[in-house]
Amino acid sequence: MDKKLQPVVEQLEKELGCTVSETRGLVSLSVPAEKIVAACQQVKDLGFALLSAMTAVDYWPEENPRFHVIYQFTSVSGNMVLGLRVPLPGLNPSLPTISHIYRNANWRERELWDMFGIKFQGHPDLRRILMPADWEGHPLRKDYPLGYEEPQFTFNFDEINLRKPYAKE
């Protein structure tokens, strides 16, 4: 682990009681869902001014935890990188918002709501961002189909041609 990162990680571990893991040079702390706002506030106070990335992974068909929400923080002044992981259950996943601490979490949380169905309590404007407003379903979940179209080869060309919606005029 980076020498500068060590005291930061120890302080967070002590205050929040989270588990630390390091894979391939990236340090990440596993934080329970109810402590995420306190964790983010702490991380910001320790000098990590930039929320680099915020994303989620879906581990379907495991139901508990089904989602892992991942936060990546960068400290510009100290040149350090830190990650947080929050496990969430599959039924009605929700987290408190951090958009009052890091402003770019606003759209990132909207994207997670759109793509995964994770609700963020206290978010000022939680609506779909990438898909049309009346879309049903959350595309990046593993039980959502890819939605691909069957390729037309010569043997099934005509039957697919009849089904394809062509604009006549």
Binding site: M131, P132, P139, Y144, P145, L146, G147, Y148, E149, P151, K164, P165, Y166, A167, K168, E169
Partner: protein, 161 residues
């Protein structure tokens, strides 16, 4: 025999009305700015100085659909964009043509999934498909010239009312 020779010497050209109208249409066809994604950059390169499309009559690209007669759909059309595309096509005055530039506009391209329309001909009728990902500017110009040949072969009876 005599009158054609005489008129040719006097500098008068005769033609049919259809040919004259088709000639005037192809010589100043203004495309609408409909660049969506990567193909738009190649369309801009085709418009720029190296592969100049102004030589073929496309001097300006009009952003307004009311003032253009060709829509070059350059790039991938997502499901959210499809109604917008149709509305813009409806706003163009007749006669209008559509070139589907690139693989994504022709058939969905690399992306065979929930978000991309598999070919823009699901919403608008396409006249010329230009293949490539993205097609070279020369390929786009070839597509435009193919469209010109198609327009020049069109008779008045075939024009949409």
């Amino acid at each position: 025999m005599g009158i054609e020779q005489k008129m040719g010497n006097m500098g008068i050209a005769t033609t049919t009305l259809e040919q004259a109208v088709a000639w005037s249409r192809t010589n100043a066809m203004w495309p609408m700015l409909f660049g969506l994604a990567c193909c738009a950059i190649e369309m801009m390169s085709a418009q720029a100085a190296h592969y100049d499309m102004s030589r073929f009559g496309m001097e300006l690209m009009r952003p307004s659909p009311r003032q253009s007669d060709l829509m070059i759909v350059a790039g991938r059309v997502s499901r959210k964009m499809a109604p917008v595309l149709r509305r813009l096509y409806d706003q163009m005055p007749e006669p209008k043509w559509v070139i589907a530039m690139g693989d994504c506009a022709s058939c969905g391209g690399v992306f065979n999934n929930y978000a991309i329309m598999q070919g823009v001909d699901e919403v608008v009728p396409v006249d010329v498909y230009v293949a490539g990902c993205p097609p070279r500017p020369e390929a786009l110009i070839h597509g435009v010239l193919t469209l010109y040949e198609k327009v020049q072969g069109m008779k008045f009876a075939e024009m949409k009312k």
